[in-house]
């Protein structure tokens, strides 16, 4: 299920539309993730306030979406382009890769809320494939 030319065009076009709100998207997605999937809070035990909209969550959402933005620019070679990020997640953060899927789902939910008319099924499928490819690239160095 690799990205075809159409997927890449769709992702780049949609990202151009939404990138202005990337920080808010990231913050909202993380807030939903820790609320709907409480087990994900285990990675953030070092933060006191994990309520949706809290400062550490919003700041981290910005960091995460920065990574997604970077991935869009490297869409033709995600594995190569995200090598350093993969090493970070594999050796330092050690986030179980199952959580990438969970966060991806919540990013898609936020897209549906913020862009109900633009987030068509056609955009949805390409973005879903892109986030899955991103997750695979992030998990590359795990073992």
């Amino acid at each position: 299920m690799s990205l075809n030319a159409n997927d890449k065009e769709v992702v780049k076009a949609f990202w151009a539309k939404v990138s202005g709100k990337a920080d808010a998207i990231g913050g909202d997605a993380l807030g939903r993730m820790v609320t709907v999937y409480p087990q994900t809070k285990t990675y953030f035990a070092h933060w006191k306030d994990l309520r949706p909209g809290s400062a550490p969550l919003m700041k981290h959402g910005k960091t995460v979406m920065g990574g997604v933005a970077d991935a869009v620019t490297k869409i033709d070679d995600l594995t190569g382009g995200l090598l350093t990020l993969s090493e970070l997640h594999a050796f330092t953060l050690r986030v179980d890769p199952a959580n990438f899927k969970i966060l991806a789902h919540n990013i898609l939910v936020v897209m549906a809320i913020m862009y109900p008319n633009d987030f068509t099924p056609e955009v949805h499928v390409s973005l879903d494939k892109f986030l899955a490819a991103l997750a695979r690239a992030l998990a590359e160095k795990y073992r």
């Binding site: 609320t35 709907v36 939910v109 109900p116 987030f119 056609e122 499928v125």
Partner: protein, 147 residues
């Protein structure tokens, strides 16, 4: 047995009380067939599913999406006993329809996306949590009688 808070019950009942079944049901099934094309395997007799446009304008798919959504009504009315309520439906999906139960989660994710788009910012994280918990219980009940 699944424990529901008063708030969760209120959220679920609230969503279904104001639900546009014709719109949401059709959109959810269409989205599922487009985003997860392998799910089309169950709809060979439904006519043209050749591309996204065909799927979106296919009246059989739209009607079936509405039917599926109404299928959730009984779960809403019997939230304390969804497993028993859906025992027969589970057997149907296993023995007659031969649906891989993994597909239930795919459709439920698409339904979540469509509901989120409709409710907008009122689909808060808490609302999403209650909604997804409800769908998870439904999905589990539907897969329960498979053997």
């Amino acid at each position: 047995m699944v424990e529901w808070t008063e708030q969760e019950r209120s959220i679920i009942n609230g969503i279904f009380a104001n639900l546009d079944y014709e719109d949401v049901g059709a959109k959810a099934l269409c989205r599922c067939l487009i985003v997860y094309p392998w799910t089309q395997r169950y709809f060979g007799a439904f006519g043209n599913l050749y591309n996204a446009e065909a799927i979106k304008t296919n009246p059989n798919i739209a009607a079936h999406g509405v039917k599926i959504l109404h299928g959730l009504d009984r779960a809403v009315k019997n939230m304390d006993n969804i497993k028993a309520t859906y025992a027969e439906l589970s057997v149907l999906h296993s023995e007659k329809l031969h649906v891989d139960p993994d597909n239930f989660k795919l459709l439920s994710d698409c339904l979540t996306i469509v509901i989120a788009a409709r409710l907008g910012s009122s689909f808060t994280p808490e609302t999403q949590a209650a909604w997804q918990k409800f769908l998870a219980v439904v999905v589990s009940a539907l897969g329960r009688q498979y053997h």
